[in-house]
Amino acid sequence: MVTKEEITDMAAMMRITIDDRTEYVDKVQRMLDYFGVLDSAGVDDEDILVQEMTPAELRADEHRRHQMGTGGHIRAPRLG
């Protein structure tokens, strides 16, 4: 069981301010408790599949100057 204090600490680490602590903590706790059903999946001996792709399948690793940017960088417009 993940404690409410741990959830509050994690929110702070993720730079998330939670106004209504009770509601957030309760709902996140319910989510994490639900994820606990994975304990009974019986997959401990399962290998994790990874999709391998050889470099030959990828585009050439070469520098491409972007046409729209300045100094080789795309500058996203700042708002406000």
């Binding site: 993940v2 741990e6 959830i7 994690m10 929110a11 702070a12 680490m13 993720m14 730079r15 998330i16 301010t17 939670i18 957030y24 709902k27 996140v28 319910r30 989510m31 994490l32 639900y34 994820f35 606990g36 059903v37 994975l38 304990d39 009974s40 999946a41 997959v43 401990d44 399962e46 290998d47 994790i48 599949l49 792709m53 399948e57 990828l58 585009r59 729209m68 940017g69 795309i74 500058r75 996203a76 417009p77 700042r78 708002l79 406000g80």
Partner: protein, 471 residues
């Protein structure tokens, strides 16, 4: 000009000069204004009419306007466009205009499609009712008291309301198929790697795909012919081949009815529609029999564990430094400034970010994240094994019919359960399509077909056959 006409018919008439693209778009914009109360669009394209006139000019000049000539298309607002803002339905990106365009949007425009607007969604695509939007909920065009499904609820509603002939959504765990089912339209999640994700704002990169919604399966095929295939800007598309013409043949095919996706607890109205669809497939010569996918029971937990983890990482970039909205910096210590700026995330996104911090962290990764990856691997092996025997798998798209606005907002886990029939295709990377197959108390119900990887064309052919037999 009938705005409910199929996209391929609109394109044919525009290309022949029988109807002008300008007239199609003017009438579509009128329909968008008439359905404003449904809150389908976040923004509209101010250049739509002038783009339509350009298509009409090409027709007059005798040049090829493309296979989607003059077709009104809407785009989910988490797919980047240069002409309109891309907000992800979040106050965090309010008014943000991308400096580049998504590959899928470029490809649609190249084929003559006219982008009419950007559609509402659950914030950053996290939800399945389109109620978690900073711009308010979208209402279901079939009955505005009900949710349209999500997270691509605006996209499905735009097609159902006749405010677009085709829409592009994104499907991370059913976000195209679920709203397609709830709004009575067709929705397709392609094989992972079939369609470029370049320009799709990342939520859970390892499983999400851009997918089309339309009123008919032939229009889904038309959209896929335009957007599928390799893109040098997205390495996951390296093995993709564009969808070609499909044959609507199910005669002699073996179809597995996934037991865990049609349990005894299935809503009786959904069961009736589903059983009629299965009977329809059998009447066309398919052999349908029950099969088991044991990992389905754990797939929702695995899905939310993996997506929360990737969301926590992907959304770390929204710190109001590289992207932002002009929060005054004076008076803040650095970390407090970042926390204050991230206060613009909505409650569901905040919950998933917090959960996404936990599940891969030291002390919890073994219990949650690694187990979720193992469930994903086992599920993929189970699905691959079934495709050694069966051509397609079939299930209801969603285990319940549409429900009323606000009805399921209180319990996040109860809401998660509605994804149980759709997440397996995402976790295994398989193509899946939702076909509108009937109604339950007047509300639409969809049936899902799943195929093996890169069998997108044959799958859409089978879907077209199903569409024909249930009409």
């Amino acid at each position: 000009m009938d705005l409910e006409a199929p996209a391929h018919e609109i394109a044919r008439l525009v290309s022949a000069g029988s109807v002008s693209a300008e007239e199609v778009i003017e009438r579509t914009l009128e329909r968008m204004r008439d359905t404003e109360r449904l809150n389908i669009f976040i923004s509209t394209n101010p250049d739509a009419v002038s783009e339509a006139r350009r298509i009409d000019g090409m027709v007059r000049d005798g040049s090829d306007p493309g296979r989607l000539a003059g077709v009104p298309v809407s785009i989910k607002d988490n797919i980047c466009t240069r002409a309109m803002p891309t907000t992800c339905a979040s106050r965090m990106l309010e008014g943000y205009v991308s400096p580049y365009e998504a590959t899928v949007v470029e490809r649609l425009r190249r084929e003559g499609a006219i982008i009419v607007g950007k559609t509402n969604l659950d914030e950053f695509a996290m939800g399945l009712t389109t109620e978690f939007s900073a711009y308010g909920p979208t209402l279901n065009p079939r009955d505005p008291r009900y949710v349209p499904g999500g997270s691509s609820g605006g996209s499905a509603a735009s097609v159902a309301a006749g405010a677009a002939a085709i829409s592009l959504g994104s499907d991370t765990g059913g976000s195209v198929r679920n709203p397609a089912s709830f709004c009575g339209v067709a929705g397709f999640k392609p094989t992972y790697g079939m369609v470029s994700r370049y320009g799709l704002v990342s939520y859970a990169n390892s499983i999400e795909q851009v997918g089309p919604l339309a009123r008919t399966i032939p229009d889904i095929v038309l959209a896929m012919q335009a957007i599928s295939g390799p893109d040098p800007r997205d390495g996951t598309t390296a093995g993709a081949r564009p969808v070609s013409d499909t044959e609507d043949i199910v005669d002699g095919k073996r179809i597995g009815i996934v037991r865990q996706m049609a349990p005894d607890s299935l809503h009786p109205g959904v069961r009736t529609v589903f059983e009629r669809a299965v009977s329809g497939l059998e009447s066309l010569g398919a052999a349908c029999e029950e099969v088991s996918l044991e990992m389905v029971d754990y797939s929702v937990a695995a899905y939310y564990t993996i997506t929360s983890t990737e969301a926590g990482s992907n959304l770390a970039r929204y710190d109001n430094i590289r992207y932002g909205y002009g929060l005054e910096r004076e008076g803040y210590e650095f970390h407090r400034y970042v926390a204050a700026s991230r206060d613009r995330f909505g409650p569901e996104v905040k919950r998933r970010i917090i959960a996404g911090g936990f599940v891969p962290s030291a002390g919890y990764a073994g219990r949650y994240f690694l187990k979720a990856l193992k469930v994903k691997s086992r599920l993929t092996r189970e699905v691959n094994r079934l495709f050694g025997t069966y051509d397609y798998l079939v299930s209801p798209t969603v285990p319940v019919p549409p429900f009323r606005l606000g009805e399921m907002l209180d319990d996040p886990v109860e809401l998660f359960q509605l994804d149980i029939n759709t997440v397996a295709a995402n976790l295994a990377g398989k193509p899946a399509v939702s076909v509108p197959c009937g109604t339950c108390d007047g509300l639409p119900v969809g049936v899902q077909l799943i195929a093996d990887s890169f069998r997108d064309g044959p799958l859409l052919g089978a879907a077209r056959a199903l569409e024909g037999v249930v009409q």
